[in-house]
Symmetry: C2
């Protein structure tokens, strides 16, 4: 006999928590779709050479071998994807003739990283990505669409305050070059800057001044803006007065266009900020960059990051496919928000009504009543074990059903159905002819249906 044990780094939920997790995924998916980011799904595995084309930390990649195959048949050329960007690049390169550009795609899937698990780090986790890919070129305004989509998703999730922090790599590149750094030294400066949120202003300033012999006084105006959190308009007006050359100015003007696009879409200011400290470690990004933090959960770091990149498919295709994307790290924030009660946990059943029955000869009637409820779009389970009514009702309570339906001799004779509200305890006798419509109305009055349902 094998004792089952939890796998470190591979999250798994009990039914009630799973339902909350599924609701989070579903809100994100439907928000992406509401903006026209159409879902694709790529295989969990890619060819190893595809996954490693960009270089990087191969040791974190899970390769697939056949268990107990003949020795020469064990190796395969496959490995599990570690993000959804490489699969997207491969997908676009492989199918570009069949896609329509700009290609707005969403992708919500598991990814795997074989790293040593720590708190908040997973080996299997969900990412929820949106990217827009152009052929040849891509309007800068899409950089304002992505955070608007994320703003919609996080707002609809109703998980409290969040801030999408936006910056521009060209602005940073121009700024540090303007300070006298050689272009190839800038990435190292960005890596230091990128740690501002984590290690604080003093250590970042010290890192920059010692490593590059910069005058702290020269850095002061920058850090005033980076830590002072001025409103976006004030920040950009200030930066427009700075003379740091063409690259810097292009960065500022791009940020300005993004700000204007966010305003046009009605994204409220507290939900986003232009933040000079956001640098994103990856060399990948070439323009706008994003990070998203939950002020009440600073320990989570960024729960949604991304940016603009010059060419998605460089390793797989000769064409130019610029793009921009953001990725919500769902598995990253859900456990913390569940624990804090910010994400609520409710019933551990998807059904609204439990149909009980008192004796074996009533179970046929119970099955009929269940089917009648479902025909009214009411989600219903029929309890079929030969247990006493009390045990059946305890089952209903424990799982969180809204209503219980009771079938007994008395009701059958009278042509009625007894319905118990499991919150109030109130019992009602309904006429057998119209009962399922009445249950439906009670669970969801018509007005609520109207206001909830969007057109399909």
């Amino acid at each position: 006999m094998i004792k089952p044990r939890p796998l470190s780094g591979f999250p798994e939920y009990l039914p009630a928590q799973q339902l909350t997790f599924n609701r989070v995924l579903s809100v994100i998916r439907s928000t992406y779709e509401a903006h026209g980011f159409t879902p694709i799904e790529t295989p969990s595995a890619e060819l190893k050479d595809v996954l490693t084309a960009k270089g990087g930390d191969d040791a974190e990649i899970y390769a697939l071998t056949r268990l107990n195959g003949a020795p020469d048949e064990r190796e395969t050329d496959l490995a599990l994807h570690f993000d959804l960007s490489v699969p997207l690049a491969r997908y676009v390169a492989q199918r570009e003739g069949e896609l329509t550009f700009p290609f707005l795609r969403s992708q919500v899937q598991k990814v795997w990283r074989g790293e040593r698990p720590q708190a908040g780090r997973f080996r299997e986790f969900y990412q929820a990505d949106i990217d827009v890919i152009g052929r040849g070129s891509l309007s800068l305004l899409y950089d304002a669409v992505l955070p608007a989509v994320v703003n919609d998703a996080l707002t609809r999730l109703d998980i409290g305050p969040f801030c999408i922090r936006i910056n521009n790599r060209q602005l940073l590149q121009g700024y540090f070059e303007g300070l006298g750094l050689a272009p190839e030294a800038v990435p190292q400066a960005l890596r230091i800057l990128d740690r501002l949120e984590k290690v604080g202003l003093d250590r970042v300033r010290e890192g920059l001044t010692t490593e590059f012999r910069l005058d702290p006084a020269a850095l002061a105006p920058f850090f005033d803006l980076a830590t002072g959190r001025p409103d976006p308009h004030a920040l950009l007006t200030e930066l427009e007065g700075w003379a740091f050359g063409v690259t810097f100015e292009r960065g500022v003007s791009e940020l300005k266009a993004v700000l204007s696009g966010l305003r046009d879409q009605g994204v409220p200011t507290p939900n986003f900020r232009m933040d000079l400290s956001v640098a994103r470690g990856l060399g990948y990004y070439t323009g706008t960059v994003y990070e998203t933090t939950l002020p009440d959960f600073p320990q989570l770091g960024s729960i949604c990051s991304g940016g603009r990149y010059e060419n998605l498919v460089g390793n797989f295709h000769r064409g130019a496919f610029p793009g921009a994307g953001m990725s919500i790290g769902v598995s990253r924030f859900v456990p913390a928000l569940l624990e804090a009660g910010v994400l609520g946990v409710g019933a551990s059943t998807t059904a609204q009504v439990l149909v009980t029955s008192l004796q074996a000869e009533h179970r046929g009637e119970a099955l009929r009543l269940g089917a009648e409820l479902r025909a009214q779009d009411v989600r219903a389970e029929v309890y079929l074990e030969p247990h006493r009514l009390g045990q059946q009702l305890r089952y209903a309570d424990r799982k969180g059903f809204r209503l219980a339906v009771m079938v007994g001799e008395e009701e059958l004779q009278a042509g009625r159905v007894r319905v118990k509200d499991l919150r109030s305890g109130e019992e009602t006798l309904l006429e057998r002819t119209q009962w399922s419509q009445e249950v439906r109305q009670r669970l969801c009055p018509p007005d609520a249906i109207r206001s909830r349902a969007g057109p399909r």
Copy 2:
């Protein structure tokens, strides 16, 4: 540069087909939930010893190793699950104290099998499982619930005729023992019988008579019933007259109870059949067994199988947890039904409306209009590339948008919005104040909303 190439056995869709595939998954999931089968999700990987506890063909299991790790760090103790039953058994054994029984669970996930791919065989594919697990015992009537759920799902999928074929292993066990076979010889007889659909009556009869020296005349009444497709009631009445001992009689009486439960739930007769030829190769099943075929697609074999089993968790737990389950092999039938046009392929966007704009200075207004539509629950994309209107409308046509919204100087001045129906070509000018409500109404009249939306 690496040329991307398709992975044999790992299906991947273009956006329009993906949307159809997603609709199939979504109908199945919501049907499962409507019956109270609550979704869980287990990690893609399990410990190797958990996966191989039951024995079986280990060579088909994909094990995980770390790519390019130090040699002693490459091996892991993990492998990808090859079905959803072993993970369910592990889940129940591990968490039984936290679950409420009977435990009705659904699970729709990918599984992996490292077999040599052939037509219709995949190495990565979706299974959509429902199981009900009892603690200690489980009412036989649940055996009638499972096919009713599958009947609902396949009916709602609207994929043409299907037949859930139902049999009982005890009936078969008793029958062959009654013919004089030793109990331990019966599994081999069932394996021969199970191939009736594939190889035909003659070869099955020949197999049984030669292997077990049975009199062909003695088998005749059985095969008359197995191939004659009598209605379920007639079949069972006939079998009740047969004298094959206690095990056989228990099987017949169980089948009778299942038939009665199916009738109570209103499952129409053409959608199911009591079929003596269904044996299911696996030793796992101990009572009711199911297979589901699509008469128009016999080459697909069974698209949904399952049965009753005596104990789910034998390898992981001392307790008795009897159960019954069915599994829809989604990846198996979707490609054939797409190809035959039985599953339709529509738009390659999730959005209903494309907001176009004629000039750069109108794009802010276009972004505002898009946000206004989404506030009305209308799914809307804003086209932001600096292309001519003709190109924007071609994009809308190719992706399958329903409506295009046009923003130009004239409309802005007049306080109006121009809306073009992309099917009829008809254009309308709407007042800017009420326009988004009107678009919403046009896409989905209130009556349609009412009848589609179920209570939540």
